[in-house]
């Protein structure tokens, strides 16, 4: 396992190096340079303009600039954002990246769960009303034009019904007079979420190891109690209402993303299930007198999951790609919006930094899915 991870880390470093190189030359290939942001002022005399260029090191040959850029990137120096001056690029990204990651990881997880659940249900009971309803609506939503669909969702749920906020990360009226920053509350929320996931895994692990047959049914209640206890604990804390405000702003983008993407997982799961349901081990599981639900979930669906998990990588990458559009529609101040704004305003350090981190994020997504796959399929071992 360690060797495998080391090898993967080496591959990641190499890929990251290529990403940084490509980003550098892509930006170089565009009209203008780092100095454009400051030097565009027509009132500046030519000498001042030259001086600005010199201060950015733009008088040096390209290969020297490249080496300096490389050195800076890999020593963690991404420079200072022009648009958010004087904040360093890393500082801006540290604020924006978690917001995007949480929104899109949650949306991907929800859409994966919904898709997998529906997919296995419609494969198991073929020809039912659910199959037609899920397939037709899923395929329709999957092919919908994302910005138009996002606007439609806002129009219905935020404008007409008024249930949810129109967009953005928080409501300034709610936060007026709050003594903590949004980042502070958000990081607490992240920690709570991570702790809950860790707890759920521990419970699963513990009950699987315990000695009594039939203790597995306790897993769900225990996790459910924890899931209920968390909102209650937050409600009694003095930042609970602030967290709720952030959560309310997350609902609409997550629901929209889920609706437009669950059909991919659903149809893939359905086809994969139809394959595994014909396997001899599913027949054997039924012959063993296992309840139908166990035959479906533990054998047919568990094996059908394998090819579907492979597609999770693409969903994750799609989520990051789509963040530019979805964050634009919902005014969500995450990586997509940051990148778009930075490109518009020629904030080149922020552009480069965003690109590198989006690349890093998709590399990590790949590794996580690979490790997950190894865990799910015992026939594959880390080589």
């Amino acid at each position: 396992m360690t060797g495998y991870l080391a090898k993967r880390a080496g591959q990641m470093a190499l890929t990251l190096f290529l990403i940084v190189t490509l980003t550098f030359f892509l930006v170089q290939a565009q009209p203008g340079d780092y100095a454009t942001f400051y030097a565009l002022n027509p009132d500046l005399p030519a000498e001042v303009r030259a001086q600005i260029k010199e201060s950015f090191g733009l008088d040096k040959p390209l290969w020297q600039q490249y080496l300096v850029h490389m050195k800076n990137t890999f020593t963690g120096n991404f420079g200072v954002s022009f648009g958010h001056f004087p904040r360093p690029v890393l500082d801006v990204l540290a604020e924006r990246l978690p917001r995007t990651a949480v929104l899109f990881l949650t949306a991907t997880a929800v859409s994966f769960y919904v898709g997998f659940f529906l997919g296995k249900a419609i494969a198991w009971r073929r020809g039912g009303v659910l199959e037609y309803a899920a397939t037709i609506s899923g395929a329709t939503l999957f092919t919908a034009f994302t910005p138009a669909f996002g606007l439609m969702m806002i129009w219905i749920f935020a404008f007409k019904l008024g249930w949810l906020p129109v967009g953005k990360f928080l409501d300034p009226l709610v936060w007026r007079g709050a003594e903590v920053s949004a980042n502070h509350v958000f990081s607490y929320m992240l920690v709570t979420g991570a702790a809950f996931i860790a707890f759920a895994f521990l419970v699963l692990f513990f009950f699987r190891r315990s000695g009594r047959i039939g203790s597995a049914p306790l897993v769900r209640p225990v996790i459910a109690v924890a899931a209920l206890a968390i909102p209650v604990a937050w409600a009694f804390s003095d930042i609970g209402y602030l967290a709720l405000d952030i959560l309310r702003h997350m609902i609409l983008p997550i629901v929209t993303l889920t609706l437009i993407s669950f059909a991919g997982t659903m149809l893939l799961t359905r086809n994969s299930m139809l394959e595994t349901m014909r396997e001899d081990y599913v027949m054997a599981a039924r012959a063993k007198g296992l309840p139908e639900k166990v035959v479906r979930d533990r054998h047919a669906a568990r094996n059908a999951l394998l090819p579907v998990v492979t597609s999770l990588v693409y969903s994750l990458i799609f989520a990051i790609d789509g963040s530019v559009i979805i964050e634009g529609v919902f005014s969500w101040p995450g990586m997509g919006m940051t990148l778009l704004d930075a490109v518009r305003s020629e904030d080149l350090p922020l552009v480069m930094g965003s690109m590198v981190f989006i690349g890093l994020f998709s590399l990590l997504a790949h590794v996580i899915v690979d490790v997950l796959y190894v865990y799910l399929d015992p026939r594959i071992r880390y080589q």
């Binding site: 315990s210 009594r212 047959i213 396997e279 001899d280 081990y281 007198g289 309840p291 568990r302 399929d377």
Partner: protein, 337 residues
């Protein structure tokens, strides 16, 4: 052999099964009846597509969606399995009837540990209450079929073909069934492993006094492990008798042909004879005796009427012209029929 005065473990009465296909209705099983005593083993032999696997899956009620049981009863210790509702049938499976599958290689789920797949059956039928007891039971079963108990935490892909076969047999024994159905369990194995596993299967079956139905296309293999043999042709049982009797004096011309198409290690050297022609199309089976188009003794009555026979005789054949006894030993027997 076991006397037939006991109540039989299994009574199959007039079992008939149809498959709906695009080409038409397939008469896969037609009026099959037989009995099985406790601790007795019955071999079902016949060519591919003769309905032997369909009989097995009917007994477990694991039929594909396009199958329909049109007639008959399957009485296990007196209870007609075909009358049970799904939940009752579920509790009967494995607890009362277990099965060693045709594709034993693929009947282990690749993503779960072998021992765990046996434990889940033990768990589903409440055979043990704690995981450690269940594991102990699996260890016992593993030892019984000649596997190292430490292998129970391995995955199926870490097992060789023979080991998987043994594991599948251990799995079938896990809930002390009254009846075990072995559907060509050793076909995928090499001859030496096949032979060893057959012997062990027979020993275990006798030791636990289970009923066993052993299905194979290879009459030689069946002869090694079973007390009685039933020969199937075109969905019908055409001959049934004690293994020794059937071997010594096959009554149905098809049985004789089947036996002469497999080489025998013992006895005199005879030329192997193939059986001319194809098995009949079961969408439109031949009238009368289904074997008549391939039978050298066929005459008018064979073409028009099926030769019904009572199942209460010890050795019978559904044939208008049963063969005279081919004497190999005492020479005292007569052809019946």
């Amino acid at each position: 052999m076991t006397t037939s005065t006991h109540t039989p473990v299994l009574q199959v009465i007039d079992l008939s099964l149809r498959y709906q296909t695009r080409q038409g209705e397939v008469q896969a099983v037609e009026g099959v009846s037989f009995e099985l005593q406790q601790g007795q083993s019955l071999g079902l032999v016949g060519e591919s597509g003769c309905g032997k696997t369909s009989v097995a899956t009917s007994l477990m009620r694991l039929l594909p969606e396009n199958a329909r049981l049109t007639r008959g009863q399957v009485r296990l210790n007196g209870t007609d399995l075909l009358e049970l509702d799904d939940e009752e049938m579920r509790s009967y499976r494995w607890r009362r009837i277990a099965m060693v599958f045709q594709a034993a290689m693929n009947s282990l789920d690749p993503v779960h540990r072998v021992g765990q797949q046996i434990i889940e059956a033990i768990e589903a039928h409440g055979m043990e209450t704690t995981v450690s007891d269940a594991r102990e039971r699996v260890a016992r079963l593993f030892r019984m079929v000649g596997l190292d108990p430490q292998l129970m935490d391995r995955y199926p892909h870490e097992f060789s073909g023979g080991m998987r076969q043994r594991a599948v047999i251990a799995m079938a024994l896990s809930c002390d069934p009254d009846l075990i159905i072995a559907d060509e369990p050793t076909t995928a194995l090499d001859v030496i492993v096949q032979d060893r596993i057959l012997r062990e299967l027979k020993l275990v079956q006798q030791e636990l006094r289970m009923g066993m139905i052993y299905i194979s296309h290879d009459i030689g293999v069946v002869a090694e492990v079973t007390d009685r043999i039933g020969v199937m042709y075109a969905g019908r049982l055409v001959e049934l008798g004690d293994t020794a009797d059937v071997f010594r004096s096959p009554m149905h011309p098809y049985t004789a042909a089947l036996m002469s198409s497999f080489p025998s290690v013992h006895g005199e050297r005879l030329p192997l004879q193939g059986l001319a022609g194809e098995p009949p199309n079961l969408i439109d089976p031949p009238s009368g005796c289904p074997f008549h188009p391939r039978c050298q003794y066929a005459d008018e009555v064979c073409r028009t009427e099926f030769p019904e026979r009572s199942i209460h005789e010890d050795h019978w054949a559904a044939c208008w012209h049963p063969l005279e006894v081919t004497v190999t030993g005492d020479g005292s027997r007569d052809g019946c029929g």
